[in-house]
Amino acid sequence: MTVTTTASGGLAEDLGTFHARAKEWVAANLEPLDGADPYLGHATDDADHVLRAKAIQRKLFDAGFAGLCYPVEYGGRGLPAEYQDAFIDVSYGYELPRLFNTPTFTIILPTILDFGTEEQKKRYIPAALKGEELWVQFLSEPTGGSDLAGALTRADRRGDVFVLNGSKIWSTYAWKSDYALCVARTDWDVPKHKGLSVLIVKVHEPGITITQIKHVDGTDDFCQEFFDDVVVPADQVLGQVDDGWNVASRLLLHEREAMSGSSPYAMAPRTAAHENDQVRAAALAQDAGGETDARVRQLIGEARVLTRVHTALVGRIATSIRTGRLPAAAGSIPRLSNGMMRVRLASIALEIAGDRAVAWNDNDPTGDLGVAYLGRQGPCIGGGTTEITRNIISERVLGMPREPAEDRDRPFRDVRTNAAAPRPRS
């Protein structure tokens, strides 16, 4: 089945017809989750996860349901966000290739759209929409924390190529991915924000070593990468050389949109309603009392209040940014909300679960709640800590004075960093 879009990009199909057709297609072609984890689907192991995601994404592409909001010339459908919303609506509860959702579709491709050369856009966007290439971000560094612009990973120009050395960290599923956007320093003699470039890097290349990091909950999705003289062709710079902070800032903006649920490219629901599942599980798993206990009802009520308010906030901030009521930096407001909400929900679930969060029978969901509590601060750390977020809101939304910084207006090589060894002078 294919959708015809008129040459001018006009819509060949109204929303209602699209919704009905998508619903029918989804029911006939996708597998219901039937209780499976929405992210992993029916994958049997890590390798299978990638294969399944790529196969399902290809199926979506062939049926005309991939990249609904991406331009037609790059393999998308060129449709307004309402069509993506309609597809999310009909596909909820079915196995989707969520592996592609973030960062590939919601962060990487939008940044390539913003800064890519015509060649880069034609090369990379359709391939991802077809499910052929999965992306990862190489942003954070072990030495940098939330200070992304303080990158120490270096890309040195050698004729037609850049040579990459250094290390990146907190990249999710790097070993499953095919390509990465990597922020690296290309000029050490200018202030920190002026000497960065963003490179398109092939993940499985000679010189790149990937190690998995074991998370407090036992999973090992996060990775660290080490670059030893990795060769990157010079035409694989995204945007201008030394203008990488501009590119990275846009990338971070797309990341905030993705995390706050306002990205038009997301394939999953933008609300936080499902966050209540763990709270509900805790309530149901209680030996006695449960929802008949007035104390438990207070906690369930609070959880529902927090998630519903967050959903309302996401919509309000997205509208406010679109209409100019608030600056784009206001995307940090839902990011802060998301972090604070998830922290509280994890605590609520623990509280309801009681001692069964620390000692449990097989198949008792309360054990997961105890483990989840251990990693509770994750949503307040990943994607820039909530402290950085509060700086952004107070400075760029409320207009308050910026924090003093010792690294502005001086060559980056003279800036104090966490580098273990002295940096070579080029």
Binding site: I300, E302, L313, N391, P401
Partner: protein, 376 residues
């Protein structure tokens, strides 16, 4: 607050704002408090001319909305009144007018014209000492006696109960949940004005000792008042949230300004990270409160199936967070913030009054959990 206003709605908001600024600036509110009057009836009638009393009343009954969505219009007025901690029985009168317009033929034609013009005032008698604001929480008894009904019980606190000419009384009895419209002059009523936190919003205790009313005083269906009760409650909760958000928005605004203007140790307060982070949190809470209030207003306006839940979610969040936000603003002001002369306490009084009445956040959370399937 609502980001999607028609030009007519903007006009209503601006007209209301200008009228309030001209007639009841905070100095006037303080003066009203000292007089003990609460509000001036002539002033209320001028407000009625702006549309304050007609937005929830059907056009064929002399009312009419601005946008075709009366509750959304009225929420704008409530927000402006919150921003000025304005006097006036806005919530009390409108919630009664809404039900009379929808439910009562004969009573409506007799009573609504006075409410619409502002000549008379109404109050909803619902809260009872130590009882929840739910149909099951009602204990005031309505007993049939021939062609009449006899009302016995206590309502407290009744918003505008000491000023109202008409009382909409929610009662229980062998017939089930019923509502009656009773003139405040009815024999057997004992109305005691209570001392109150808000300087101009007054509450009363109303005792019904064998108050006899004719069958024509029944509003809507005898024994079938539960849907009206729910609609009234949704309207009240939405308007309370709008009022709280209006007040909090104003306080946040002038507190941010204060942080820019005030210096300490040679720097503006706004330059301290410890304070900047608190302002960032406050901005998050304020935007969240505004967002959920708009969602709740629209859901109640549209008769959305989730309207009951969203209204309670909104009250639970807004009434919990906003008083805390204002307390934080007081903290930002330092010592001046806890003085009588500073206006901060006027706003805090209003939002706390809204917080505690018609069901506090703890009650709302319980309702939300029960609506989600929890059992009481």
């Amino acid at each position: 607050m609502d980001l999607d206003l028609t030009s007519d709605q903007q006009l209503l908001r601006d007209t209301t704002r200008k009228f309030l600024q001209a007639t009841v600036p905070l100095t006037a509110v303080r003066a009203l408090a000292e007089n003990g009057a609460g509000f001036d009836r002539g002033w209320w009638q001028r407000g009625a001319e702006l549309g304050w009393t007609s937005l929830l009343v059907d056009e064929r009954r002399g009312g009419g909305s601005i946008s075709g969505q009366g509750l959304r219009d009225l929420a704008l007025v409530a927000e402006e009144m919150g921003a000025m901690v304005s006097p006036g029985p806005l919530i009390a009168t409108n919630v009664v007018a809404q039900t009379l317009s929808r439910e009562a033929e004969e009573l409506a034609s007799r009573v609504l014209p006075g409410l619409l013009s502002g000549e008379s005032i109404a109050a909803w008698c619902v809260a009872e000492p130590g009882r929840d604001i739910t149909p099951d929480g009602m204990t005031l008894q309505a007993r049939r006696d021939g062609a009449e009904f006899v009302l016995d019980g206590v309502k407290r606190p009744v918003d505008a109960g000491g000023q109202a000419d008409w009382l909409l009384v929610t009662a229980t009895g062998s017939e089930g949940l019923s509502q009656f419209l009773v003139p405040s002059s009815a024999p057997g009523l004992r109305i005691t004005r209570l001392r109150g936190l808000d300087l101009v919003r007054q509450h009363a205790e109303i005792r019904f000792d064998g108050v006899r009313v004719p069958a024509s005083a029944v509003v809507g269906v005898l024994g079938g008042a539960a849907p009206s009760f729910e609609a009234q409650l949704q309207t009240v909760l939405v308007l309370q949230c709008a009022e709280i958000v209006g007040a909090t928005d104003r306080v946040f605004d002038f507190t941010v300004q204060y942080a820019f203007d005030r210096s300490s140790f040679g720097r503006a307060l706004a330059s301290y990270q410890a304070l900047k982070h608190r302002f960032a949190d406050m901005k998050l809470w304020l935007e969240s409160a505004q967002a959920i209030t708009v969602d709740a207003t629209r859901a109640a306006q549209d008769g959305d199936p989730e309207a009951g839940e969203v209204a309670r979610i909104a009250k639970a969040y807004v009434a919990e967070r906003c008083p805390e936000l204002i307390q934080d603003c007081i903290q930002m002001h330092g010592g001046i913030g806890v003085t009588w002369d500073h206006d901060l306490h006027l706003y805090l009084r209003r939002v706390v009054a809204d917080r505690q009445t018609y069901g506090d956040p703890m009650h709302q959370r319980d309702c939300v959990a029960i609506l989600a399937g929890g059992r009481p």
